[in-house]
Symmetry: C2
Subunit: 210 residues, 2 copies
């Protein structure tokens, strides 16, 4: 086998190893916090060596940044953005996603918090690199939500007076802020009530009954 | 001097020492977090000895609990509850307090976060005693807000269809949740925008133009 043929396989292997390590790290960090998990904890959940870990992630921070960029950003798109394409009225879409992802989730899962918000609370104040990555992930969520609100406005579902940027920011920040409070206080049952009130806001910016 | 006469003075002295220690600890904890401040840091900001500290607060956790009960609870009442008495329409009162306490505050102060929310994020997940105290302080805020919303309803300012408990919970949790996100992300300028959207919610539950 010449080096030309070997190289793509090596890259594919490295990519798979990287994905497997991130996949192992994600639930551990969600449950114990970034600082509460060691590289040994993560490696023990994979079939790889510590050497392989350090080859791919020279420091634990590099792993943390990769969790934001390569796991959390795609999760935002998959869970909160792409499903909105299926809704003629994006306002109904956002409410439906909240109902599906939070309203129907078990208290055991909800009390772990939101992966993004957990890192905002734990790591953004401690590390500028984390703060930058987390801001960027939140901006992605806000901007994609705004894109769908602009569609809602163009199609007559959102009142013309509503500033789509402000509304998108409010919706994402309220959602994340609630997660932060609920996780901190250990009150997952409070979500339903909070979303009842958030729906009043949605109704206020909507031209139709939601 | 007999012991009867000495005792009240001693109690007064102890109370004053306690208040001085809490007053010294509060801004340090606000700036550096509870875990980021040592008993030595706090004692150094007072004219008291470490012995006096331990006499009043056998452990650092006792000091933390006292910060919640003896500093933060009164702050909630003084800043967010008692001023509402001066407003005929409590909805206008709440918006006015937000404008005053957050809208006009400097970014340098806002980025320190809210003393209550900071401890919810930092300490509630780590210590059951903190979680209980913090829940109780938040409940105080929600319950007192609800009392004023009930008054707003009785006086015709709040729509009859609004559940005052849910609304009070939403208002306090949104406010605290925003603080958590803004502190984490270091974006104090975002508050104005978020409150612009929160006002749409207030307008939606109000019978009058706010």
């Amino acid at each position: 086998m010449d080096s030309k043929a070997r190289r793509p396989k090596k890259i594919r292997d490295l990519e798979r190893t990287r994905a497997e390590i991130l996949e192992a790290a994600f639930p551990l960090v969600l449950e114990h916090g970034f600082q509460g998990v060691s590289i040994d904890d993560i490696v023990a959940e994979t079939r790889h060596t510590k050497g392989a870990f350090y080859h791919l992630f020279p420091t634990k921070l590099d792993l943390g940044y990769a969790l934001v960029d390569e796991v959390i950003r795609p999760l935002i798109i998959d869970r909160w953005v792409r499903p909105l394409e299926d809704f003629e009225n994006p306002l109904q879409g956002i409410l439906s996603r909240m109902q599906e992802l939070i309203g129907r989730e078990s208290p055991e899962i909800l009390k772990l918090g939101c992966p993004l918000n957990n890192l905002v609370q734990e790591m953004a104040p401690l590390d500028a690199g984390f703060k930058k990555k987390l801001r960027s992930a939140l901006d992605l969520w806000v901007n994609e939500t705004e894109r769908h609100l602009a569609r809602a406005k163009a199609d007559g579902f959102l009142k013309q007076s509503v500033n789509t940027k402000e509304a998108a920011h409010f919706i994402v920040m309220a959602h994340e802020g609630f997660y932060g409070m609920i996780k901190g206080l250990g009150r997952p049952e409070a979500f339903a009530e909070l979303f009842g009130s958030l729906k009043i806001y949605f109704q206020a910016i909507s031209t139709t009954a939601l």
